[in-house]
């Protein structure tokens, strides 16, 4: 049985999606002439500003391309579904984002992305564009704490990119932008669960199997298996399991502040997300942690996967200021 999708020829799905994106957001983004897979902010890049290039595979919309715009990312190379973009569009993005003050590459920590972005960084280096790379590794379910550098980047990207984008937009030098991006990543904790699988436009088959009463805990955002399969639990139990793990690592003090992201992996509706958020708030109240701001919705998806993730950003004054910095992107606005 084929999964149901509103698509045309899957061979050109990314090109068609980009056409639709530019048609919808012509005041925010454009495609680089001759390099349609490189999407650039109309009001982003400028002289003396560190350029921020974020990117990765398609299928996670609004991540990554939706976060291109003034105050957040300057450019975004577009990969195939769940596949890192190749070096060429990344390199085009580096050039488009460069304002002479260096360029920051930020993306989730996946083998394919690392190889392609590194090749592009080498190409940019030959043009005398100084590139620094910060990998996002917020998925605390994807490797133990002592192997933090092996973790995947997932929905927490949203906070980490937002902070880095604000650092760049406020004209901080490259060293400082890199430091803040790394700090944001170190302060961001995500974990998710999956209830039912997604399918690729090219296969129209479910990417993996889950039993009728099963959920997958610690699911990756590409359908990679998580930590374990188990029976479906209540919203509260799921939230508790995630919050236990996050708070256990974050170790907040009473009076600390966080930002919260309750994210749908695609098919899980807002009603369920708000149930999770209710319990997140209760748990934070219990430990005396206050919430600076909360986002709830589809921020980092896996096509039509059902499930959700919870992200906490452990704030201090520096990060709070940057989080509050306004941005105006194709699919997201703040401040």
């Amino acid at each position: 049985m084929k999964t149901k999708k509103l698509i045309n020829d899957p061979k050109v799905i990314i090109e068609e999606m980009l056409e639709g994106i530019v048609a919808a957001h012509p005041k925010h983004v454009r495609q680089v002439e001759g390099a349609p897979r490189a999407v650039v902010a109309l009001n982003g890049p400028r002289k003396g500003k560190v350029g921020l290039v974020i990117g990765g595979g398609s299928g996670h919309e609004p991540t990554f391309v939706g976060f291109v715009g003034k105050g957040l990312a300057d450019a975004c190379p577009i990969g195939n579904v769940f596949a890192s973009p190749p070096p060429d569009p990344i390199y085009e993005c580096a050039k488009a984002a460069s304002g002479g003050a260096g360029v920051l590459f930020m993306y989730g920590n996946y083998a394919g992305d690392v190889m392609n972005f590194d090749m592009a960084a080498e190409m940019a280096g030959m043009d005398e564009i100084e590139v620094r790379t910060v990998l996002t590794t917020d998925d605390i379910a994807s490797a133990p704490l002592d192997q933090k550098e092996k973790r995947r980047g997932v929905a927490g990207n949203f906070f980490i990119f937002k902070i880095a984008g604000a650092a760049c937009d406020t004209m901080k030098p490259l060293d400082e932008c890199e430091r803040l991006a790394r700090k944001a990543n170190a302060h961001t904790y995500t974990m998710g669960v999956c209830l039912s699988p997604c399918s690729l436009p090219q296969t129209q088959k479910y990417s993996f199997e889950l039993g009728p009463d099963e959920m997958e805990i610690g699911m990756g955002i590409h359908g990679e298996p998580g930590v374990a399969k188990g029976p479906i639990q209540t919203a509260d139990a799921v939230t508790d399991a995630i919050m236990d793990k996050i708070l256990g690592e974050m170790k907040p003090n009473k009076g600390d502040k966080v930002a919260v992201l309750v994210n749908s992996l695609g098919a899980t509706p807002l009603m369920e997300l708000y149930l999770l958020n209710r319990r997140v708030k209760q748990r934070l109240d219990q430990v005396g942690v206050s919430i600076h701001q909360t986002w709830v919705g589809n921020y980092c998806t896996s096509l039509e996967m059902a499930g959700a993730s919870i992200t906490l950003l452990h704030l201090d004054d520096e990060l709070t200021g940057l989080l509050d910095h306004p941005c105006d992107c194709a699919m997201f606005r703040a401040g």
Partner: protein, 213 residues
């Protein structure tokens, strides 16, 4: 076959494309179990792009140009993990036959070794990490040994296929430490690495094509 011309190389790439096309569901399914279910899709996109680019190439193009064209078109169509790995592999194969109008038996085995070496330089994976290297590294070694034994081209390739098959089979028992499956721990055990599986498909297609030339 005595020596492979650039035209023969194109035939081989076509054969690889056909084989991947026929195998792509299985490859995506293997990737679904321990990765993100796109490996067949990705390889198919890659070799389709390669063969489209080769079709546009001047008839006088030499083997290095064929390999370089394959490298670039595969990489740019694909990205992902496979793009840089196979892109680098084909680039190194091109370098290995640089200046040669044809590819002889020795050069063929060397190409395979150059490809495996290029992949390893790019991906930094060692044997035993449950990646395509577990097929390509034994295959390259086996081809070299066969060459040293004086085997002909087809026999060299057959040795490579046998080694790749054994290597791919062996990935089932491995924990993954590179790539998407590396976060799976014990749960990856029992499942063949999709990249190792497609390596076997590619080597088999090459062998059949060379046999038929």
């Amino acid at each position: 076959m005595t020596e492979l011309t650039a035209a023969d190389l194109r035939t081989i790439f076509q054969a690889i494309g056909d084989a991947i096309e026929a195998d792509k569901s299985r490859l995506s399914e293997l990737d679904g179990v321990i990765g993100d279910a796109d490996h067949g899709v990705t390889m198919s996109i890659g070799f389709t792009a390669v063969n489209e680019a080769l079709a546009k190439l001047d008839a006088s193009a030499d083997p290095t140009t064929v390999f370089n064209t394959a490298a670039k078109s595969f990489l740019n169509a694909v990205g992902a993990s496979s793009g840089p790995l196979y892109g680098t592999a084909f680039m190194r194969a091109g370098a290995a036959v640089k200046g040669k109008p044809t590819v002889d038996r020795d050069a063929l085995a060397d190409c395979i070794q150059a490809m495996a070496k290029g992949m390893q330089d790019r991906g930094k994976a060692e044997r035993g990490e449950k990646t395509m290297m577990d097929a390509w590294l034994p295959a390259a070694d086996a081809a070299q040994e066969a060459k040293a034994r004086g085997d002909d081209a087809v026999a060299c390739l057959e040795a490579a296929v046998a080694a790749a098959e054994a290597g791919a089979e062996a990935t089932k028992a491995m924990l993954a430490t590179k790539g998407r499956a590396s976060r799976l721990g014990e749960r990856a055990i029992g499942h063949m690495d999709p990249g190792a599986a497609s390596a076997v498909t590619i080597l088999k297609a090459i062998t059949a094509a060379v046999r038929g030339l």
